[in-house]
């Protein structure tokens, strides 16, 4: 089997946050490779730079965020240096992002249908009726049992899980090839977390998406991802195929992460089972 093409390639990315008083390095030479049609976990504790990496890719660095070196490529397209309008062409139809807190990610003033309509309108030339139909189609695709009712609801009327399904529908509605999921289940109830992860996993394989799954939970990586990169203090300390990294972590930091997660037992049980 030939190696799959790379959907997203981050190479040697360094980002500083510059304020008048100081310059803080937040990413130092980060490289992440996301092969087409796979799910890669980006793991690390809070403040390790996983979200900043995602934001740099989306062109959504916070005020003062400056890319000092490196490259971000989607296929052959270099993203660094693109202006906002050029990035807007890509945000949605090429790459998209699911946020951590679905309740605050949706615009509170508009119904689900209206915001999905606006998101479609930003990239596709469709009439209103067609936008409505497409919105419902994607709500159904995101596993919402009654798309009609949810389409007419305001975000605050939805449960967290339902809202995250809407966010996922919104992120996918312009048919991106790459989806960045930034801790998509952290703000949700434990039972709902699993449903959302299952949904993302099935969408990933059905739509052959390339997914960058940002998480601090190694359990999620173990279950759903193909490969992972471990980040610590603005650097990728270890990267590789899931099985290899989780079973034989080379870096002490990865070993600590695994030891701290419930994975150590699960991993052993699995190993024992598969042996």
């Amino acid at each position: 089997m030939s190696a799959p093409a790379t959907a997203l390639q981050v190479t040697d990315l360094s980002v500083d946050i510059v304020s008048r008083k100081q310059r803080t390095e937040i990413l130092r030479g980060v490289s992440v490779e996301l092969p087409e049609g796979t799910m890669r976990g980006l793991v690390g504790e809070t403040g390790s730079g996983k979200t900043m990496t995602a934001r740099a890719v989306m062109g959504l660095l916070p005020p003062g965020g400056t890319i000092t070196s490196g490259s971000i490529t989607l296929g052959v397209q270099e993203l660094i240096g693109l202006d906002n309008e050029q990035l807007n062409e890509l945000r949605g139809p090429v790459m998209s992002m699911v946020f951590q807190n679905p309740r605050t990610a949706l615009y509170p003033m508009h119904t689900v249908e209206r915001q999905l309509g606006s998101i479609i309108e930003a990239h596709q030339d469709l009439r209103k009726a067609a936008r409505r139909a497409r919105a419902r189609e994607y709500l159904a695709l995101a596993g919402i049992p009654d798309p009609d009712r949810v389409a007419r609801a305001y975000p605050h009327e939805l449960s967290g899980g339902m809202a995250q399904r809407v966010v996922i529908a919104a992120a996918l509605i312009n048919e991106p090839a790459i989806l960045i999921a930034d801790e998509p289940t952290t703000g949700l109830d434990a039972t709902v977390q699993r449903q959302i992860l299952e949904l993302l996993a099935s969408l990933q394989s059905d739509l052959s998406l390339s997914v960058l799954m940002i998480t601090h939970d190694l359990g999620i990586v173990a279950q759903y991802c193909d490969s992972l990169s471990v980040m610590h203090e603005g650097q990728v300390v270890e990267a590789g195929e899931k099985r290899q990294v989780l079973r034989q972590p080379a870096e002490p930091y990865t070993q600590q992460l695994i030891a701290a997660s419930e994975l150590s037992e699960v991993g052993h049980a699995k190993q024992a089972g598969s042996a």
Partner: protein, 339 residues
């Protein structure tokens, strides 16, 4: 469903107005009397005999016990009959009816100007947070906040009337020799528009310009500051980032942001409007506006009980009504508001 709930809310709030207004006029009645000063003495003059004074007291009803006066006042107020103003001799409701439109027009135009200046500068400052332009807006609004309205009005008069002669003299809504519109509402600009009288409209707008600019510019300061802080919060909200991540063009993001930042500004506008009905008094006086606030100020100086009471009642009623409208607007602009 939502329409029916709005109707129920409206009805409930209208019913609530009754006890609120009852409370307002009761408090006014007693506070006016606590302040002391029987207007009979003022009317009669310094050299009046006790008989004359007693006669005047009987005429205006201040000879009766406070309780009796209160009952008389209430029974009139129910029929919107507040008695005769002691100094004009007209029924108070007629006096106020003639002056209130001028005040409302002044306040409404000032608030509109304040909202335009305040919201746009607040949004502008928030989008340029920390930059020089933000700091300039901030410093300007901060200094405007500490500026007394009468002083600012006088400066404007000095510059634009006295020095430059761009503005007409401060003689009210119209000068004596101006073409005047047929009196329909009593608000000169509105009447000129209703009667399609461009000459009168030009004169009325000219006269309204300075007082409206005085109040409008000063009102812009608190509105600008509130808009800025509300907008800053919105700009950091997840949904703005998500909108960007979905490839929304800048123009749509801007509309999203302003729309989400507006609800608190609507509340502030309502508060300002109801305060200004009586609060624009100094500006009314400076420009001889002849509005209700100026009338009330004169009434207070002259212990004109009926006039004071009626004004407080009307101002209270307008406040309650404005807050009702604010609540309704809230329901319309923010879907999260529970009915």
């Amino acid at each position: 469903m939502r329409a029916r709930r709005i109707a129920v809310l409206l009805l409930r709030r209208l019913l609530f107005m009754i006890p609120i207004l009852f409370g307002v006029i009761t408090v006014t009645f007693f506070v006016t009397r606590l302040a002391g000063g029987d207007p009979a003495y003022l009317i009669a003059g310094a050299f009046a005999t006790p008989e004359v004074i007693a006669e005047i007291q009987a005429q205006i009803g201040t000879d009766k016990s406070i309780g009796q006066q209160y009952v008389n006042f209430l029974s009139g107020a129910v029929r919107l009959d507040f008695g005769e103003a002691i100094f004009t001799g007209n029924p108070v409701q007629d006096d106020l009816g003639a002056r209130l439109p001028a005040t409302i027009e002044l306040v409404a135009f000032s608030l509109a100007l304040g909202l335009i200046l305040g919201v746009s500068s607040g949004v502008f400052a928030a989008r340029r947070r920390g930059r020089k332009s933000d700091k300039t807006v901030n410093a300007t609004s901060f200094s405007l906040l500490s500026l007394p309205d009468f002083w600012f009005g006088l400066i404007l008069l000095y510059v634009f009337f006295f020095k430059l002669s761009w503005a007409p003299p401060p003689v009210g809504q119209l000068s004596a020799n101006d073409p005047s519109p047929t009196d329909i509402t009593g608000a000169a600009v509105l009447d000129s528009i209703i009667t399609a009288n461009p000459a009168a409209l030009k004169a009325a707008v000219g006269h309204a310009a300075l007082p409206v600019v005085t109040l409008g510019v000063l009102l812009a300061a608190p509105i600008s500051r509130l808009t800025r802080s509300s907008m800053l919060e919105v700009l950091q909200a997840d949904y703005m980032q998500f909108g960007q991540a979905c490839g929304f063009p800048k123009s749509r993001l801007r509309r999203y942001g302003v729309r989400a930042a507006l609800p608190p500004v609507v509340t502030l506008a309502g508060i300002i409007f109801s305060i200004l009905i009586g609060g624009a008094v100094l500006v009314e006086v400076i420009f001889s506006w002849g509005g209700a606030a100026q009338y009330a100020a004169t009434a207070i100086i002259q212990s004109d009980y009926p006039a004071i009471q009626a004004f407080v009642f009307v101002a209270g009623a307008i406040s309650v009504f404005v807050f009702l409208i604010v609540d309704l607007l809230y329901v319309l602009i923010d879907p999260r508001v529970k009915l």
